[in-house]
Symmetry: C2
Subunit: 206 residues, 2 copies
DNA sequence: CTTCGTCTCCGACTTTCGATGGATGCCCCG
DNA sequence: CGGGGCATCCATCGAAAGTCGGAGACGAAG
């Protein structure tokens, strides 16, 4: 049984979510909070597995803050963030605060339910529309590999040797090495294997 | 809405599954098949997102076969395989035939429902009891790396150089290379990077 | 007890990789 | 327009990775 606390300043939204979740036999809504403070308080006293957290409370944008505080509790319930707009600038903040997932309020019911189950299981559940946007914002500032560099790195990541890469791209292996040197420095690593590991971590590969 | 076709030779089982799924608003059972041939036929004519497929039809074990044929259709519905026994030797066959998931018939209702949703979303849904067993059978025959070899490979997979691995394991880098040579030959590759790729594919790493 | 297989370890040789340094062409902006 | 920044390309040379052959340990068969 997944115990859930709903935190949203709008009663209608809370009721809607509750109605959706009440239809699921393995999910029980144990509390509702109308303010960030209440959300943290209920998360502590009711020890739910999951908190559904709105990002916009009244005027102050303290949803991310509340998320951080909830995640700092001893029981540390998972937090699933809800918002109306996928352009919300606080997506990053919420994720960094420890949110397991991020959903738009107009998501189809089964998507929300699936997300609740996934989040309660410790998995991350991002609305597809958001995942891409988020990824861009997370990795763009970090690395900006040129198209050619990515191309080379991708082949290396498939296990190709320098000469194989050179052949496939119709360039000299000296050139391949040069591209790799640049990739290494941009990724802050010193070998092809480490570069692959790092590239995967940053989402550049795979 | 997830449209489902149920394929099972036992009417009672079909009714049971239908009853379970009818309780879900986002799932609709659009057809029932009592034979593998019917299953394929309905999968083609009704174009469901998902086919729930029994492995045992009458006497012949053609569930895997039917799965293969269903997956070969133009619409290519996902296939979720059901069976009574987790010792069934055809688990592998079904998965290789393109089944997205594998469930025991005595699984709790919510697990089945969750599996249906997951499978319809293109995710794989394996009963935990089966996942482990399956994993063993899938990778054991392919590779049997020694504990030491895996240890070395794991570090290499983190981007470590031979000398770093040697230091961490308190052995010479000549020995590290030796282990890697064995790993390479067992995995059928010729470089550390290719080894990492292959090891990930086989589930040895990560 | 021997033989075989397997795992673990190692040193010396060859190949590949990565570092260094430099060339060209492109685009943008002061 | 003329330099600064960047992407792409290339050659050389020391360092790392990979190849080869073999040694010691240990257990399972023969």
């Amino acid at each position: 049984m997944i115990h859930v606390v709903i935190a949203d300043d709008h009663p209608v939204v809370r009721a809607g979510i509750r109605a959706l979740l009440d239809g699921e036999s393995d999910i029980e809504v144990v509390g509702e909070a109308a303010t960030p403070d209440d959300a943290v308080r209920l998360a502590q006293s009711l020890t739910p597995e999951l908190v559904l957290m709105d990002l916009q409370f009244g005027q102050a944008v303290t949803g991310a803050d509340a998320t951080r505080r909830v995640r700092a509790l001893e029981a540390a319930p998972y937090v699933l963030v809800l918002t109306n707009y996928d352009t919300d600038g606080d997506i990053l903040g919420a994720v960094e605060a420890g949110a397991s997932g991020y959903l738009l309020k107009d998501a189809p019911p089964h998507e929300l339910i699936a997300a609740v189950r996934a989040a309660a299981a410790g998995e991350s559940a991002l609305a597809p529309a958001i995942a891409g946007r988020l990824m861009e914002r997370m990795r763009a500032p970090h690395v900006s590999l040129s198209a050619r560099e990515i191309e080379v790195l991708r082949l290396v990541g498939e296990g190709a040797s320098n000469s194989e890469v050179a052949q496939r791209l119709h360039i000299t292996d000296a050139t391949v090495k040069s591209h790799l040197v640049h990739v290494f420095s941009k990724l802050g690593v010193a070998s092809r294997t480490a570069a692959i590991v790092e590239a995967r971590k940053l989402g550049v590969l795979r």
